[in-house]
């Protein structure tokens, strides 16, 4: 291991190691974060949800966005897979259909960062157990 020789070194080191546990720090403040849930049931995975998830994770890390990417089970929209649900704090969750990598990046840029709505939204017709509690 290299020695840490100054406070600056220590800070640089902290930055370089940050990504290792940023996922934990974010989920610790989950209520302040945008939550993106990728439907990762068999149908979702078959339709390419894994690639979408990886794209999202990379994008979020690259741009240090306040976004938590989680995976969920089947949301029931098998005809529109891969689907992702985006919950911006203070807003109702929105489900996007037919999401591939390119569309995932578009959703991040337009809906999450700029707050613009884009096509392909499925009307939400379910409640989650958290909302009931």
């Amino acid at each position: 291991m290299n020695k840490i020789k100054s406070l600056d070194d220590l800070r640089k080191m902290k930055q370089s190691l940050k990504s290792d546990i940023s996922i934990r720090e974010k989920s610790d403040k989950a209520e302040e974060m945008v939550r993106v849930r990728v439907a990762m049931a068999t149908c979702g995975i078959a339709a390419g949800a894994r690639e979408v998830m990886n794209t999202l994770l990379r994008k979020v890390e690259q741009d240090s966005l306040p976004v938590v990417v989680t995976q969920g089970g089947c949301m029931g929209y098998c005809y529109a897979e891969p689907t992702i649900e985006v919950a911006v704090p203070g807003k109702d969750p929105v489900v996007f259909s037919h999401v591939d990598s390119a569309r995932a990046l578009e959703i991040v840029d337009k809906y999450i960062v700029k707050g613009e709505l884009i096509d392909g939204i499925i009307p939400v017709n379910y409640q989650t157990i958290q909302e009931k509690l």
Partner: protein, 596 residues
């Protein structure tokens, strides 16, 4: 490159390891491998989550799913269902004891909602065996900041923060540092007191197991402030996991140059060694601790001189408790105003408690000073086990006292607990229900102090022994009203005359139980009855003839053949043979056996 999308945090504290959490980690890794997920999901062994009642704990990040009582055999289901398909394993989720609903994540658990975690900030969050994770959590940044400034400024900051010693006495930490800093010597020492000896307490152990680097960093900060280049951690040998993690942390800190010569280019040298104690309660007293570190018997000495004047090797020594040290780095990084804004008027910050006894959520909690006992016991602790009635809570371990229902709304801080006849102590909190006999409880604690007394001074060595004999006599049904008065008088004398903190506080459990449960003592000596039915000599089992149908079940279960009677005829217990084990009472299906 494959992105890590999920972390599985597994508790690696002593409690959860005892329930095979290390094998659980192996199994999780094994099944991740089998399902081709090993590169996407990281399994992290952390320190204690505090929710020991339901350990081993697995927390899934990022969705905060909180799995309880997970066995190594559950690993496959977690991997195949949750990790692979995103479906939570409902049977492993925490069930709210009142609503019986599954709670999906830790954010919705009442246990965590009331807590403020400063000393435990990294416990259950980082891998304690990896210094990098501590560094990402701003680790050693406080040390870097301190090394670039005047030690006096830091001492001033700690003084203003209002931090007081968490070992029990509550001495202002900044003042202690200032006194040690003011004493000139060629060598000074920083000592961390990790000799946690209260029965039922595990705060310090959990901090050391979950976040050892925070103690190392704080000791180096203290060393710089008081002018010491050497630190010693006095820890009991019966904490093997804490010792191992400290050793790993010290080694990693040395490799990074965060311990050793010229730390962070400041020219300041500091290093830490461990000293293992044999596990004597009295060695938590600072002068006895130092004596034990010298290799002598763990006996306290008269103060003054205080360790700040003449401590380890006769040099000025600053002794602080583990939890006190754990608070230092956040105070420096976030400022004294922040720390000072938490807590009550004279007690600032938070306090860690080890909740134990007849309570639903046994575990480790950290609450702001001034939180009431009711909030801790009924909200965080989830109330009394099996729906029984709350009777008393013992704070401060064998040196503390018992508080009753009338004290439930007492804010927890140094002043209020002392005023109520107990003390803060190091943070043990043992809850008792209606089935506990307060005389027996007092006797239990006194038994502990009698055993742990070093024997140096007469009041503690002889006085406690006499008190214990008197309590024994009362429990045997041979006590008189004079004995209660005798206990009160003797207790006061011991408090006034004993040499060290151990003796000065050892009568507390007896005195406080006499104060608040005098009726129970009277019942023992006047009526010769134990209201809680705990004192064997004072109870007898009898069979209610009207309820006994003569099924012979009790007679068959009696280990001493004390029960006789023919089939379908009411049975009788021979009191001379009965050993009062209660086997018949538990077996009888008709409620015919009564305790008198």
């Amino acid at each position: 490159m494959v992105q890590i999308k999920m972390h599985l945090l597994v508790c690696g504290g002593t409690g959860c390891r005892a329930s095979e959490s290390d094998r659980l980690v192996e199994q999780l890794n094994h099944h991740l491998q089998l399902n081709g997920l090993a590169e996407e999901v990281k399994v992290v062994t952390t320190g204690c989550f505090g929710f020991c009642e339901k350990g081993p704990i697995v927390k899934v990040i990022p969705d905060n799913t909180f799995y309880t009582q997970v066995t190594p055999e559950d690993a496959e289901e977690i991997v195949k269902e949750h990790v692979l398909k995103g479906r939570k394993v409902a049977r492993l989720l925490y069930e709210d004891p009142e609503t019986l609903e599954h709670i999906s994540d830790s954010k919705h658990m009442e246990f965590y909602q009331k807590q403020v975690r400063i000393a435990l900030r990294n416990c259950g969050f980082i891998d304690p065996e990896n210094i990098d994770e501590y560094i990402v959590r701003d680790g050693y940044a406080a040390l870097g900041q301190v090394l670039a400034s005047d030690p006096k400024d830091t001492i001033e900051l700690i003084k203003k923060s209002g931090l007081r010693g968490r070992g029990g006495a509550g001495f202002p930490t900044g003042l202690k540092w200032e006194i040690t800093a003011g004493n000139q010597a060629d060598q000074k020492y920083v000592v961390c007191n990790a000799d946690e000896g209260d029965p039922g307490a595990f705060m310090d152990r959990s901090i050391l197991e979950g976040d050892p680097n925070s103690i190392i960093e704080a000791m180096a900060i203290c060393g710089y402030c008081i002018g010491a280049t050497k630190g010693l951690i006095y820890i009991r040998a019966e904490y093997p996991l804490a010792i191992r993690r400290l050793e790993i942390a010290i080694k990693q800190a040395r490799e990074y140059g965060l311990l050793g010569k010229d730390i962070l280019g400041s020219g300041f040298d500091f290093d830490i060694e461990l000293r293992l104690g044999a596990g004597a309660f009295v060695c938590g007293e600072e002068t006895a601790l130092i004596s034990s570190m010298h290799g002598s018997r763990g006996e306290p000495t008269i103060k003054p001189p205080f360790p700040a004047q003449s401590g380890y090797m006769g040099k000025p020594t600053n002794v602080n408790n583990v939890e006190t040290f754990a608070n230092i780095p956040p105070i420096i990084l976030k400022g004294w105003e922040w720390f000072n804004s938490i807590g009550s008027e004279k007690s600032k910050g938070t306090k860690v408690f080890a909740l134990a006894g007849k309570i639903n959520n046994v575990g480790l909690i950290e609450v702001p000073m001034g939180t009431t006992l009711r909030e801790v016991i009924f909200e965080i602790g989830g109330g009394i086990k099996d729906g029984k009635r709350f009777k008393a809570v013992q704070t401060g371990g064998p040196s503390g006292g018992c508080l009753t229902e009338q004290h439930l709304d007492t804010p927890i801080d140094y002043e209020h607990l002392t005023a109520a006849g107990s003390m803060m102590g190091s943070g043990g909190m043992i809850v008792m229900d209606e089935d506990d006999c307060m005389v027996s409880v007092a006797k239990f604690y006194l038994e502990f102090t009698v055993e742990e007394s070093c024997g140096k001074c007469a009041p503690c060595r002889i006085g406690n022994k006499r008190m214990h004999e008197t309590l024994e006599k009362i429990c045997q049904g041979k006590g008189t009203l004079d004995d209660i008065e005798y206990l009160e008088n003797l207790g006061k004398v011991i408090k006034d005359t004993a040499l060290c903190g151990l003796g000065q506080t050892s009568p507390n459990p007896v005195l406080s139980t006499i104060q608040y449960f005098k009726d129970e003592y009277r019942a023992h000596v006047v009526d010769k009855k134990c209201p809680a039915g705990q004192c064997k000599a004072l109870k007898s089992y009898v069979i209610d003839e009207t309820k006994c149908i003569g099924c012979t079940l009790c007679a068959r279960n009696c280990p001493t053949d004390a029960i006789t009677g023919d089939k379908k005829v009411p049975h009788v217990i021979d009191q001379s043979k009965c050993i009062k084990c209660g086997a018949c009472y538990e077996k009888c299906k008709f409620g015919a056996i009564q305790i008198r």
